[in-house]
């Protein structure tokens, strides 16, 4: 017979702690997913806002450059501020789009780690808890036999 050195109460505490760990880590996973989705939504909202700004600024530039805005006798109107505003909106929108792409790539790479961890929490940790509880049951049975035999 194998040599047994185990404190049943300590094993019970470990099994209970594992169940708590499983539930609490599931919340961690949910919160992590939520933060990623919140960032994606926030970037999309910023991109949408800058798309609107770009459209408005392009309209302002077009209005400035329209022949009706020109004084036929005078010099061409100065639309450099409007052109600058359009360039700024384009650059900011591009910058946000680049971040959106990086975030999508990172989130995609992260997803496989998240799937593995979810499987660990949903399948492996309960299996480990069951294994521990089987060890505890075996120890209790073995101690009952020892007590009955003494």
């Amino acid at each position: 017979m194998a040599d047994i050195h185990a404190d049943i109460d300590a094993l019970r505490e470990l099994a209970d702690a594992l169940a708590r760990f499983r539930h609490a880590q599931r919340e961690v996973v949910e919160r992590g997913d939520h933060e990623i989705e919140a960032t994606r939504a926030s970037l999309e909202a910023k991109a949408g806002s800058w798309r609107s700004q770009l459209a408005r600024r392009q309209a302002d530039l077009a209005a400035c450059q329209q022949p009706a805005a020109r004084d036929a006798a005078g010099p061409a109107p100065d639309c450099s501020a409007e052109a600058r505003a359009v360039r700024e909106a384009e650059q900011r929108l591009d910058h946000i789009r680049r971040w959106q792409q990086r975030v999508d790539e990172e989130a995609g790479a992260f997803r496989s780690a998240a799937v593995r961890f979810r499987d660990l929490l949903d399948l492996d940790v309960p299996r480990t808890e069951n294994h521990l509880r089987a060890v505890i049951s075996g120890l209790e049975a073995s101690r009952r036999i020892q007590v009955a035999g003494s």
Partner: protein, 70 residues
């Protein structure tokens, strides 16, 4: 200020690992060695891998938010 999920996950991992170390003091047989090899070490390794990936991912999310505040 609410804590980050990866930090909470690290804390949970430290807590469960300290309970395991305490259990080890009173469980020192072949079953314990088998349990550590087949169950505990993979659990720790997979948890650390996930939490590390989550940390990196959330750091990038924060950077994206900061860098697009105009």
């Amino acid at each position: 200020m609410p804590s980050r999920p990866d930090e909470d996950g690290d804390h949970l991992l430290r807590v469960i690992d300290s309970i395991w170390r305490k259990t080890q003091q009173s469980w020192r047989d072949d079953m314990a060695r088998h349990f550590e090899r087949s169950h505990w070490s993979p659990l720790l390794a997979e948890s650390r891998a996930y939490l590390g990936a989550l940390r990196e991912c959330l750091e990038m999310m924060s950077a994206a938010e900061r860098d697009t505040e105009f």
